[in-house]
Amino acid sequence: MTVSVRPGAAVDGPLRVTTARFSTRDPDLGDAYLSETFRCASERISLEDGYRLRAARTALGAVSVGRLQLVAHERRRLAPGEAVSVAHLLGGRYRVAAGGAELDVRPGEVVLDPGGGCQLEWEDVELDAVVLPTRLVADTALESVDLDPRRFRFTGQRPVSRAALEHWVAALRYVETYVLANPAARRSELVLGATLRLLASAALVVFPSTASGASPQLPEPATPIVARRAAAFIEEHAARPITLSEIAATARVTPRALQYAFRRTFDTTPTGYHRRVRLERAHRELQLAAPEDGETVTTIAARWGFANPGRFAALYRRTYGTSPSTTLRG
């Protein structure tokens, strides 16, 4: 049931991609899995209520891209490790304390664990985490900045700007959809190698580090405020039917102006954007679903507003290149 990822595995050498899912109600098994995923010793401080962990992890060489869904309220301590991790929180409560600072992370936000150890409190979280070996990130930084590799470290946990946050989310979305889910890209060492570098570069640009000083910042504002507000609303209410005028009201513009802003920003309509978000969430649940849950493609599709299984399967295949049932079976 667990996956073999060698902690600190060499960055060089043939790149392979493996995906495996994990599901447990046993907190001890969950601990082992989390330690392995985040490449550091991890110890529980407290646990309230029940416990349920569902996860899917794709290992790409020494990098892993994982999705987690935790139904529990726990506090834990993470020891220093040799990897950094970036979490994109999709839901739940997530609070992290490191180096005397405490952060409350809200859904939609991303947070970096620089690998120096921290204390974590989380409750019913859903998140996507990317774990990168510190060495890979430092090597990537050194390609553009003259720096003693031993002195490289991240200096903050939050993205340096709104544009930086958006950059991370877009990079992750690209990697998940068009590389990790794509059968052709998964076979290409060239593409996989480029993807490692893409993720490391994104982390370097998004979070402050000792290498940041010499590089320019990402330009602001990345997304016009109207499109940003509307997109946030759609992401938050993705599971239910929403109308164009409802989204427009949230963004405080007319439906026409909203459509124009979306076309310009996202190359699609608000409805198209909503469909894409629903498809991504369905994709995520198909990856996470455990056999014992008895979930089917139809129930997952319906939960995200796709009432017609045939049409859902066609859209899914057009996007991910495989059928939803293949993803569900893992």
């Binding site: 068009y178 794509n182 076979r187 060239l190 994104a202 991910y320």
Partner: protein, 317 residues
């Protein structure tokens, strides 16, 4: 020539065609406009970011069938809507290949004819892994205008969409992101389009989904495009029957072997027309005949369908 600033800060101008982009100096990174005055009412809005070995270009035409074509770049286009054809570039060393994307669209603005998302210079960036894959070798070229599989096309389309977003957000100003994106684009192109460097990643795992017979047939056609070929000869070279080959071709290329041959010949004739010495002895008819088009009127019709203009226009341009 009048410049107009688009509302999104992208400069636009009226233009009738795209001119080849002069390579800019290394390490420079600047928005660069291409295009020249042409047919009234036709707008080409282009933003081209050019650095070292790679340029990223977003072009929107309000004209359904723009002239395409550049000779020293590998261009990859994604048609958003309408019909658009990119022309094959020179195939010798130092030349570029251009990639055809007849229909990868997700159906967006109907007023937008086409969007050329990217051009990448033929010399692939160092450290992209491209040399390892043989892309730096003399005579490197792309063998096909279509991605090797539907999965490869999906990956490539997604990659172009992502890079387009980076361009629009201005993110490629950052040297780290530019370097990473350059490597990604090179890797995507090399793994998606059949070429002399990377035959198929992890050979044997089905990188090229086409049956061996179709691959043999297209290689045979590309090699012998200048000679008279019959469907039976192509089938024989591929080692299958004529009917079987036609069926397989329809499945994987959307056309018959004969139509594929015609397209290959049209591409070569187009190249000769582009390069022809107008003051020499060459004529449209002679070039057409060289590539097996004996009937001038039919050649002109096919040519116009493929390139949106009569052969004479290319010849005189």
């Amino acid at each position: 020539m009048e410049h107009a600033h688009g509302t999104d800060g992208v400069e636009s101008r009226r233009a009738g065609s795209l001119a080849p982009v002069p390579p800019l100096s290394l390490g420079r990174f600047l928005p660069h406009l291409v295009g020249r005055d042409g047919a009234a009412g036709v707008t080409v809005r282009t933003r081209l970011l050019h650095i070292a070995d790679v340029s990223v270009c977003r072009t929107e035409y309000s004209w359904p069938r723009p002239e395409g074509g550049s000779t020293s770049f590998i261009a990859v286009g994604r048609v958003i809507s309408g019909r658009f054809m990119l022309t094959a570039g020179g195939e010798g060393p130092g030349g570029g290949a251009t990639i055809l994307f007849p229909d990868g669209g997700d159906g967006t603005d109907s007023r937008t004819g086409a969007s050329v998302r990217l051009t990448v210079q033929n010399e692939l960036p160092p450290r992209s892994g491209a040399e390892r894959a043989g892309a730096g070798a003399p005579g490197f070229r792309f063998l096909e205008l279509r991605p090797r599989s539907s999965h490869a096309e999906l990956h490539l389309t997604g990659t172009l969409g992502y890079v387009d977003r980076l361009v629009r957000a201005g993110s490629l100003d950052h040297p780290l992101l530019l370097a990473a994106t350059t490597q990604l684009v090179a890797a995507s192109l090399l793994s998606s389009f059949p070429n002399t460097g990377v035959v198929a990643d992890r050979a044997g795992e089905g990188g090229d989904e086409r049956p061996a017979a179709v691959r043999r047939a297209t290689a045979f056609i590309e090699e012998h495009a200048g000679s008279p070929l019959t469907a039976a000869e192509i089938a024989e070279a591929a080692g299958v029957g004529v009917r079987a080959l036609q069926h397989a071709f329809r499945r994987h290329h959307g056309m018959t072997p004969t139509a594929y041959l015609r397209r290959a010949r049209l591409e070569r004739a187009h190249q000769d027309l582009v390069r022809a010495d107008r003051n020499g002895n060459e004529t449209v008819a002679a070039i057409a005949a060289r590539w097996g088009f004996q009937h001038a009127g039919r050649f002109a019709a096919w040519y116009r369908e493929a390139y949106g203009q009569p052969p004479r226009a290319t010849f005189r341009a």
